[in-house]
């Protein structure tokens, strides 16, 4: 449900996401991409917009953009057009950005019930640093421009206003990020700016199909801030409506430190971009081989993977979702199932996302490659537990040792005789002994206090070194006490 909105109002949210592609070189010149290198060390006459230079499109960037388009279920235009988007600013060396306008590369897609309006290719601007306290150009004593980023390939993804709450915006954004990450076409690092998200936010009476006046929240650098920013903006808009005022269309900047929303100066946004078909470039017409290649290179993406895990493998909703967005864990799962064909996917997934994930957290969430546990070893462990060859407690202890010391669980079970007591006569003898040695709790149980059985179960488990199955112990105890 929408956070904080009165019941008669509904949030209407659309997202605009910019993804920097992780190509070797820039969109229209041969300069290598960089992050964190000294300023203006990745430049050439083309990305500095010297007189007479011309753009040459980066084939790899087009391939990556097509992969994103296909992953989002979009239609790829047979012939899309580059446009010039004109505005003066020092971060925009040509004073126009090469982008796409009325015929974008991709349109009409859908991801997790949010429709994709369009996705198109464009180039990034340079980075500016303003000298002075505010960090803004107004009132600064000077500005510096670093053109390393200028011309980095970007894919802009625009959704339809299909999102209905701030938390849904965050979750959907995270799914999109994972989807793009798993394509391997971007670092999708929001802090470094390789994924940037703007939100268009409006409210309307619940049940209405009209769109209210929207505001644009710019450049949220995490999905947590996106959620907070949208929540704050929905509150603000609802407050305006409640006091009989109108929402004014404007662009807002969210300050995550203070939680405040600042309007950007209208002068900064009042642009007539004077779009013009880019005469220096021919239309972008991917051939069928290029499309086929892109289609073939698509991995199974989170949405489809979660569905398959649920529907075909019978993995419960929560672990299925978690595995679908964590490609590394999902790969681990597949390897476990391949190693132990009899291991139930549900059991494997529970071990992986439950006890194993907890062990990883204990270790500070290292990369799986840094953990000395092979998928096959974890599968053996889960199999032994599934077949009740070892008790759950034994399995948990073994897992801790696997993560710490890389032990082989099968070998250790044999060496240390940790196999579950499957011989019930042996267990019966132990139970008899325990009941004899603990007359107090035994009598309490027999007097009707069933809770007192816990002390006896604990004593049996201690006697067996944790090798007994809890359920079995309970059964035999109850029998011995005449509760059967």
């Amino acid at each position: 449900m929408t956070e904080g909105l009165p019941d008669d109002l509904e949030a209407v949210i659309g997202l605009e996401i910019h993804v920097q592609l992780s190509t070797e070189t820039k969109m229209f010149c041969g300069c290598s991409l960089s992050f964190g290198d000294p300023p203006n060390t990745h430049t050439c006459p083309v990305c500095l917009a010297h007189p007479g230079v011309l753009p040459v499109p980066n084939r790899r960037a087009i391939e990556y953009a097509i992969q994103i388009a296909l992953a989002l279920g979009c239609e790829v235009a047979p012939r899309s057009i580059f446009h010039r988007k004109n505005y003066f600013y020092p971060d925009n060396p040509k004073a126009y950005q090469i982008s796409q306008y009325d015929v974008p590369l991709a349109s009409a897609g859908e991801l997790a019930n949010v429709r994709i309006h369009r996705a198109h290719l464009e180039e990034d601007a340079a980075k500016m640093v303003h000298i002075g306290e505010s960090g803004r150009i107004q009132g600064s004593s000077g500005s510096l421009v670093d053109f390393n980023r200028a011309g980095t390939p970007l894919v802009e993804i625009v959704t339809e206003p299909d999102i209905r709450s701030a938390s849904e915006a965050r979750e959907w954004g995270q799914l999109l990020r994972e989807t793009v990450r798993q394509l391997g076409v971007s670092d999708v690092n929001m802090e470094e700016g390789s994924l940037r998200c703007d939100a268009n936010v409006s409210i309307r009476p619940r049940g209405s199909s009209e769109l209210g006046t929207k505001t644009e929240l710019k450049n949220m650098n995490s999905f947590r801030f996106l959620e907070k920013g949208i929540t704050a903006e929905l509150d603000r808009q609802a407050g305006l409506v409640a006091s009989g005022e109108r929402v004014v269309q404007e662009t807002l900047h969210f300050d995550p430190g203070t939680g405040a929303l600042h309007p950007l100066r209208s002068k900064e946004e009042a642009h007539d971009y004077r779009y013009l078909p880019e005469p220096d470039l021919v239309p972008l017409a991917p051939d069928s081989a290029m499309l086929e290649e892109a289609r073939k290179s698509l991995p199974e993406l989170p949405e489809a993977k979660a569905k398959r895990y649920r529907d075909e493998l019978g993995i419960p909703e929560a672990p299925a979702e978690l595995l679908s967005v964590r490609a590394e864990l999902a790969g681990f799962l597949e390897a476990m199932l391949a190693a132990e064909p009899d291991l139930e996917p549900r059991v494997a997934a529970n071990w992986l996302t439950g006890e194993f994930a907890a062990e990883l957290r204990r270790k500070g969430d290292p990369d799986l490659s840094e953990v000395p546990v092979e998928a096959a070893a974890l599968a053996s462990l889960a199999s032994m537990a599934q077949a009740k060859k070892i008790s759950h407690g034994t399995a948990k202890d073994l897992l801790t040792r696997m993560v710490d010391d890389g032990i082989d669980p099968v070998a250790v079970v044999t060496e240390e005789d940790l196999g579950q007591l499957s011989d019930s006569s042996e267990l019966e003898a132990i139970v008899e002994k325990v009941v004899e040695e603990n007359p107090g709790p035994a009598e309490e149980v027999q007097a009707g206090n069933e809770k007192a059985i816990g002390a006896l179960v604990g004593a049996v488990m201690k006697e067996t070194g944790g090798r007994a199955d809890g359920g079995e112990v309970n059964r035999i105890l109850r029998q011995a006490l005449g509760l059967g």
Binding site: H50, P51, G52, L54, F88, L276, D280
Partner: protein, 477 residues
């Protein structure tokens, strides 16, 4: 060549003489460098020469200052690029160097190629070598005047709406504009990207064609370049047997000076004398060309010239804030004609007017393309006078942009259609108000990439017309 003065030797023959060892390349370059250095028409903005220590295999080339030349001043005739020396060569210049043709100098031009008289240069007008009170045409006026005056053996120019053909006509030399895409535009400072095309000047069709064959070719740095399929070979035709030449009579009714009309009529008779056939054709939308051109070209120019903002190179006029810096830099850096076109183009692209202006102009352009396609289904070539009149006096049209724009009436349609066209001298004529005998140009146009056919016919006609006049003080004086 033995005994022939170097200045009268054709550029092609010069290359052959250097190739055979009859002529020393360095000596040849020194000769032309002295000629270029001595010229007094303001045709050059910079003279070198710049041999770059390379092998010299042919006659040096005067290069319009719109081409980037590594480490050499490149201004495009504008104050805003005063002192700018690009860190790279234009592809056309790279090809010259690779062919052993040194850059003789950088020639004066209308600022950013916007003009038809060369009076829009920030560095002063170029004078017409036939009459120093008259304009040489533009925008490649420096290149045309330098070749006509014997201050360069041949030259590179650019043509956006007539900027090679018109000055070639007004200076009495050959100007060749190839099909759009024939020569890479990389490093050629953009005026109107969908129209700009590099072309050549020479005293003969063979020279102009030879220079074009050096610079044409597909270039991976220009996505719109194609080169000329099959390349170009030296023209050899001596007649026009089997060639049909179309004449768009209706289009030619308006405002052609009598002297120009007479030379044109004689040229058509020469076509027939050479065995060619003249056929009247229609180009119904050609007369709308100027109007469409003066929307499309300024629109593209308005965005192409936005990069001159004082931030990275060229002129910067300091100011207290960013917007004022932009305004003062561009206010002082650009001349009046450039500002006029930036304003026209900005208006034409602005929200709400795009369809009305740019969209409509593009539709007209498409109609003109179809006009030519229809015409070329019936004829091999189309002939017109290159310009409605001969060279006019300096200042005569500067206060009336529209009359200036009409100079390009007959050359603009070919630019809009992207097809090749050539201007060759058709004789001399006096201006209507009386005065000296001045050159008249004959324009021939051909279908896209039919350059070879175009130069063959132009070569045959050139020989039959036999124009061998040179301006006083030009040639080998």
């Amino acid at each position: 060549m033995a005994g022939e003065p170097l200045g009268m030797l054709s550029a092609c023959a010069t290359g052959e003489a250097i190739g055979s060892g009859e002529l020393d390349g360095a000596e040849c370059l020194a000769f032309w460098a002295e000629r270029a250095g001595d010229e007094t028409l303001n045709a050059y903005l910079w003279t070198g020469p710049d041999d770059g220590g390379q092998r010299i295999a042919g006659a040096p080339v005067a290069v319009k200052d719109i081409f980037c030349t590594e480490g050499l001043p490149t201004t495009a005739g504008s104050r805003i690029l005063d002192g700018y020396a690009p860190p790279f060569d234009a592809t056309a210049v790279t090809r010259l160097r690779a062919a052993g043709l040194p850059v003789l100098g950088k020639t004066n031009m209308d600022e950013f190629a916007m003009g038809s008289s060369n009076e829009n240069s920030a560095y002063g007008p170029v004078l017409n070598p036939w009459d120093r009170t008259r304009v040489p045409g533009g925008s490649s006026g420096g290149s045309a005047a330098a070749v006509a005056a014997g201050a360069a053996p041949w030259a590179l120019g650019t043509d956006t709406g007539g900027s090679i053909r018109q000055p070639a006509a007004l200076c009495g030399i050959v100007g060749l504009k190839p099909t759009y895409g024939a020569v890479s535009r990389f490093g050629m400072i953009a005026f109107a990207s969908s129209l700009d095309q590099c072309g050549t000047f020479g005293h003969s069709v063979a020279d102009a064609a030879e220079l074009l064959s050096v610079v044409e070719g597909l270039d991976p740095r220009d996505s719109t370049s194609t080169g000329i399929p099959g390349g170009l070979s030296r023209p050899t035709a001596s007649d026009l047997e089997g060639i049909t030449v179309g004449v768009p009579r209706n289009f030619l009714e308006v405002g052609v000076e009598q002297g120009v009309a007479d030379r044109f009529a004689e040229a058509l008779k020469t076509v027939e004398r050479l065995g060619g056939t003249i056929r009247d054709i229609e180009l119904p939308h050609a007369e709308l060309g100027i109007s469409a051109y003066y929307v499309i070209a300024p629109a593209e120019a308005s965005t192409n010239l936005s990069r001159y903002d004082g931030v990275r190179y060229g002129l910067r006029v300091p100011a207290d804030d960013l917007v004022e810096m932009y305004e003062r830099t561009r206010g002082e850096g650009f001349g009046p004609e450039v500002k006029r076109r930036i304003m026209l183009g900005t208006y034409a692209l602005s929200s709400g007017y795009y369809d009305q202006y740019y969209g409509t102009a593009q539709k007209v352009r498409t109609l003109i393309v179809r006009d030519f396609e229809a015409a070329f289904s019936e004829v091999d070539l189309i002939a017109t006078p290159t310009t409605p009149g001969v060279a006019f006096e300096l200042g005569a049209k500067t206060s009336d942009p529209w009359s200036m724009y009409l100079n390009d009436l007959f050359t603009v349609p070919m630019s809009l259609a992207g097809i090749p066209a050539i201007s060759i001298p058709a004789g001399l004529a006096a201006p209507p108000e009386g005065g000296p005998q001045l050159p008249v140009g004959l324009q021939l146009a051909a279908p896209a990439f039919a350059e070879q056919a175009l130069i063959e016919s132009a070569h045959a006609l050139e020989a039959a017309i036999g124009f061998d006049e040179r301006p006083e003080g030009g040639g080998d004086s």
